[in-house]
């Protein structure tokens, strides 16, 4: 049976309920060593350990979530990603993952540099604050933008650094990071056109020059 040719993987099947996890999981090589920063309940790490046989490590700030991670058999320690990487030797991981947490970090640039010090590659997934609904919301209401993707009040939002896809590109260029992969998501669709305006989430894989 033949079907009409479709662009490669336009629709992303969710992994553990999330499309960014699906993209991240494709980037991680089987048998590699992975550090997940802000690993939550350890769901992605557990999946990677089970299905890609990775050596999995995680950092998580919430004690309850650390407990749930350990309950999954993961070696996770309770700590702050802003400070937590300092102890690791250089280049001891193949991949360091930061999923939807960059915008919550106190010192995001320091975190990115540390990720590329301890890991050969950094995989960063972040929400795009440049999405058109954010721009329109701010323009029309004159208030800190609130949208379906960013439903928080300004004072109770965990997001303290608002970055767009273009901001990340600029930073990568300024820091001499080599972008190996850049992938954009709108809902469960891969997006190629006008990502800074239309993408809700971006997933980057970068390494040092």
């Amino acid at each position: 049976m033949t079907t009409t040719a479709t662009p490669e993987k336009t629709f992303i099947r969710q992994l553990l309920g999330r499309t960014d996890y699906a993209l991240i999981s494709e980037l991680v090589e089987p048998g590699s060593s992975v550090l997940d920063l802000g690993c939550g309940d350890g769901e992605l790490l557990a999946w990677l350990a089970e299905n890609k046989q990775v050596t999995a490590r995680g950092v998580e700030i919430s004690p309850a979530r650390v407990q749930r991670s350990i309950a999954q058999g993961l070696s996770v320690y309770q700590g702050d990603i802003d400070a937590g990487l300092a102890d690791y030797p250089d280049q001891c991981f193949d991949f360091v993952i930061l999923s939807q947490t960059l915008q919550e970090a106190r010192h995001p640039l320091r975190v990115l540099r540390e990720m590329l010090r301890v890991g050969r590659r950094a995989i960063v997934a972040f929400p795009n604050f440049g999405h058109w609904t954010m721009r329109v919301s701010m323009l029309l209401t004159g208030r800190a933008p609130k949208t379906r993707l960013f439903p928080h009040e300004w004072h109770s939002s965990p997001n303290i650094h608002f970055l767009t896809i273009q901001d990340f590109e600029d930073l990568a260029a300024a820091e001499d990071f080599i972008v190996e992969r850049r992938m954009y998501l709108r809902g469960d669709r891969r997006l190629r056109l006008l990502p800074n305006l239309l993408a809700e989430v971006a997933v980057y894989m970068v390494r040092k020059k």
Binding site: Q67, I70, A71, G73, S75, Q78, Y88
Partner: protein
């Protein structure tokens, strides 16, 4: 109501011809008291060594046939508990220099036919582990699935992992440290001075007369304060007063907390030997995992174990920073380590009392370790 009848356990003794000590002397012969729970599997791959804290003993779980009392970690060890005796074979032994069956200063010196007393050789945490290793070998166990314990038990866990890397698959030090801080040494010194200031101590040779009960009881009172927290003492006692039958007796027991400490102190005298107190606290104070290795990282790098490190928020005797030092050093060598600081008001005693979350951590960590090791 659920009634847990518990398992009845009995103390066992193993005898060895001699034990060389770090101080250069040799103890000969030497006896170690231990209990076991569960069944060793045919591959001998399910054995767990439990290390007791300073004043603990070999009776960690079940109901003692000798005393009728539950073990000191009975809430953690047993069927379906953190250390699940349906799956694992659990061993706990009384430490060297102890007074609960293992050779210590109160034991008879075969050379004189009298208790060692002050002639008992100076022992170290390393010596304690060396004796445990003899016991483990004697039981036919080559590799321990885990070595676990809190406080001084955790210090032994760390030493085991570093000294016998091929014999330790996983290590669970709880509320512990790789070496005592000035504050920890200070409290131990107060306890020792209380004992040594008691005229009944007689330089350690009191076994043919009254023991230094007053000194030992004061030492225990100080100890109990350090095991609790401001919060737990406020909750447990506050400023509640004892019922008074006479007034004007200024230094009587007025407050519940005073009554509790005196009770605990008095009770301790019946089950603990003052010389053991001195020898064991000194061994703890002298313990330094970095000795001969240069750094904590270099020491821990010798271990091949995966680690689960646990600390408690209100523990000011073995504060979380001490556990975090261990975790950070392990990370520095990219070792397999999980760490969690559990929320508790119970202070240092939390590892004995607040076992709900601790159970979840230990249970899953062990199950995963067992699966990986199989």
């Amino acid at each position: 109501m659920l009634i847990n009848l518990g398992m009845t356990v009995s103390i066992q003794l193993a005898h060895f011809d001699s034990l060389p000590l770090d101080c250069g002397e040799t103890l000969a012969p030497v006896t170690v008291a231990y209990e076991t729970y569960g069944t060793l599997n045919s591959r001998h791959s399910n054995a767990i060594l439990i290390e007791h804290a300073f004043s603990g003993d070999a009776h960690a779980a079940g109901i003692s046939q000798e005393t009728g009392k539950p073990g000191w970690w009975d809430n953690m060890i047993g069927p379906h508990k953190a250390f699940d005796t349906n799956r694992y074979f659990v061993v706990c032994s009384n430490v060297l220099a102890g007074c609960r069956g293992t050779t210590g200063p109160g034991s008879i010196n075969p050379a004189t036919g009298k208790p060692y007393g002050s002639s008992f050789p100076f022992v170290t945490v390393q010596d304690m582990a060396r004796l445990q290793k003899k016991l483990i070998d004697h039981l036919g166990i080559e590799r321990l699935l885990s070595v676990s314990g809190g406080s001084m038990g955790g210090m032994q866990v760390l030493h085991w992992a570093v000294e016998y890397p091929d014999a330790v698959v996983s290590a669970i030090p709880i509320a512990s440290t790789y070496r005592h801080s000035a504050q920890q040494i200070a409290f131990n010194e107060v306890g020792r001075m209380a004992i040594m200031s008691d005229p009944d101590w007689k330089g350690g040779d009191y076994y043919d007369s009254e023991p230094p009960a007053r000194g030992l009881s004061v030492a225990r009172m100080v100890g109990h304060i350090t095991y609790m927290s401001d919060d737990s003492m406020r909750e447990k006692f506050g400023r509640r007063q004892r019922p008074k039958d006479e007034l004007g007796n200024g230094f009587s027991v007025d407050f519940e907390v005073e009554n509790y400490l005196r009770y605990r102190g008095g009770e301790f005298v019946n089950r603990f030997d003052a010389n053991s107190y001195l020898y064991i606290t000194k061994a703890m104070d002298n313990f330094d995992l970095t000795a001969g290795c240069g750094s904590l990282g270099a020491a821990l790098a010798r271990s091949k174990a995966r680690f689960l490190v646990i600390s408690f928020t209100s523990d000011w005797l073995y504060p979380s920073y001490q556990s975090q030092e261990i975790v950070r050093a392990l990370r520095g060598y990219n070792r397999d380590v999980a760490y969690c600081e559990l929320d508790s008001n119970y202070g240092h005693d939390a590892f004995l009392i607040e076992v709900g979350e601790q159970t979840e951590l230990v249970k899953h960590f062990l199950a995963n370790t067992y699966k990986k090791a199989a």
